[in-house]
Symmetry: C2
Amino acid sequence: MSLTNATPLEVAQAAQLGSRKLAVLSTEDRNAALTAIHQALADAKDEVLAANRKDLEAANKAAAGGQLSQSLIKRLDLGKPGKYEDMLQGILDVRELEDPINRTTARTLLDTDLTLTRVTCPIGVLLIIFEARPEVIANISALALKSGNAAILKGGRESSNSFAAIASIISRALQSTAVPSDCLQLVQTHDVIKDLLALDMYIDLCIPRGGNKLVRFVKSSTAIPVLGHADGICSTYLCADYPVEKAIRILVDAKTSYPAGCNAVEQLLVDEDALGRTFPAVAKALLEKGVSLRCDEASLAALENANIGDKTSVQGATDADFHTEFLDLILAVKSIKGVEEAISHINAHSSHHTDAILTLNEDVANAFLAGVDSSSVYWNTSTRMADGQRYGFGTEVGISTNKIHSRGPVGLEGLTIYKWVIKGDGQVSADYGAGEGKRRWKHERLPVSEGDEVARSEEEKEVLRRFRTGEIRL
Amino acid sequence: MSLTNATPLEVAQAAQLGSRKLAVLSTEDRNAALTAIHQALADAKDEVLAANRKDLEAANKAAAGGQLSQSLIKRLDLGKPGKYEDMLQGILDVRELEDPINRTTARTLLDTDLTLTRVTCPIGVLLIIFEARPEVIANISALALKSGNAAILKGGRESSNSFAAIASIISRALQSTAVPSDCLQLVQTHDVIKDLLALDMYIDLCIPRGGNKLVRFVKSSTAIPVLGHADGICSTYLCADYPVEKAIRILVDAKTSYPAGCNAVEQLLVDEDALGRTFPAVAKALLEKGVSLRCDEASLAALENANIGDKTSVQGATDADFHTEFLDLILAVKSIKGVEEAISHINAHSSHHTDAILTLNEDVANAFLAGVDSSSVYWNTSTRMADGQRYGFGTEVGISTNKIHSRGPVGLEGLTIYKWVIKGDGQVSADYGAGEGKRRWKHERLPVSEGDEVARSEEEKEVLRRFRTGEIRL
């Protein structure tokens, strides 16, 4: 990982050249680089923690001056018991994931001795802008190398000493591996970002992690594709038939387990049939957890009728409350007449991140799951489930509300693309056509790999069925 | 399909609302709309051809004034024998393709009664800007509806009467179907495009088909993701071991079967060992087909030694020739020392569209296929194979040189994305973790659908194997 004073153009060009070498390395070579990074960071724990203490000192000074919050300072501290070890384990966890590249995902026999194959490959050069959490640089570096991508990294300035220390250790570690060290480059000044965003010839994908101001700035400043989400305005639609105890558990989790998370619920849509039934108990439970409610007229009246809340904790909602990512213990509440209105409201007001319905009615649930245009849609669970680790991706590089490429939590697969490979024996396009003397395309789907035993014909499916019923035996 | 004088904002908003209804229609409803469009266009052939004759008259006048080429006029003519019928058949062909949406592509058991499913869905609203070929509007409309996407269409102005006639017939036909007619809207003036490109709140993907000037303009003018290719600078690397007859067939096809195509070869990279062997015969064959060669020093010398070509047909190449999409019977030729140099040259000079190697050496071929960073990479065939119909997609909406989402020829699959669906029973995120009393994630991969007949066990694989060898019979 370089830390030079190279210009943004030199950084990007070097990353692209490095990415081309990295793209053709074997699984073993990439995994060996992760092993080397893990070992080097384990050996250099004292060095990294010393750098981290510098960041903490600066942060504490800033906090005393009122410029930094205590919760940010907590996130900066890499010396907390277990945190450094978790960072190290994260590298090994990524190493153990299935290799996402060089996978054959489709095969077609075009003609005799003419096969078309779709093979996954790295995207190329990533530009990842991330928050000031020191362990994130190790995690992102591991994801990039595992997926065969070069990455230009820019982390939040409050962790700059920690990042510089980790980057130089990773750089040294890579020198003993097959991975060119230009494949991971840390840039240290914020003003470089603008120049990098202009280099769409060299950078293939930008992943900004952080507040919506950053994401909007990046999206409006570059021709490079941007993967991420600006807002996390998640909704939950509560139907009258849903058991109150479960509704309380789900909504308390969705709102209070991590209010600053992008997957925290920000809007509770209460079916009007639930207003006088489950809603007051749900509201009471949320209020007890310190949540403030911003209610529309009908939901406000329902709470007044039930004598729930007071004038500070329960207030009337404004229009803006239904377009706001509170990132705090605040919840906007709206009464809704039926699933179609819930779907329309969510499609117009949510940020297409994660939305949930709570109901026992499968038809209503299916209408909601199909109609809501969001990257994740849930039936009877908490919006906080939206997370790559929870989805079983091992880890995530971010959450995407894009409508193309990768949607929802993005793991290794979202850092890959594919190429189409044809292997032939001198066939040419003019050989084929509808006319006389022309060859016809076979276009026969082949199993994606030799070991893949998919039943190819109706007869083969029938054989499997009969084996499963015991009619055919081995 | 609307043809109103609505503002760009109204067009885009109506398309988004329509897209939400279209997205939840059944396969049958979408197919029925294609049947209705097919029938309406079959019934209205005279009306469409009358409009097409107006376009042809205007074009012939422009041609007489020197503003239009005869080859463009040929492409405008929908009255040529069989062309209208081909257009109609194209709609039915798209209808018969497998439904690309509502397909389950991954399933994971997160925990008991808690499943995660990845389901394909439409992208939403497409903005498609296309060339002045009248039949293309029917084709694109069919692809959009089949994939559940709304589309705002803008076609080349030389076909504007034909487009308007076809659009109003499609609009009428949709009125008898479940598809809202706002799902397909034709905009008629070029100046609307700039306004539409600003509406990234409503338009999810822009597909410009046409010259690189258009594509570059679109890419630099919008925050909407753009799918397409600006250039088609394709290369073929000729190794010394490849039989000369096959090399000639492949290169003549790649250069001359459709020189204006984006998949025509523009650069011939001749391995230096082939310069004195197969290259002169290949060059001779290309010259006989009317191709002009722009040769670097070594390849020029090889042709002089062999007495091939003359001063008009064989010229020295400039640097610019290796960055040029000729779209004409011109081929740049460069001598190359080994596969690594071929890969480097292509990665630096090609447009990452389609590049080929001609060799009998499998190791050399595999190094090339892995190392060349292009959307399609070929071994021993013509770059002209890069085409959705040839790949077996039925038809294509365009060819993408993007590094994300969809690469190479883009068929129906490239017009889809997915959503993540979780169905649960009251589970919440705080239940799970590494601590005591916490639940562990199961993260068990499930077969992707009930009807998916993959052999799930070694025994079932054995059953299939024995059936294939005839040992087990139905």
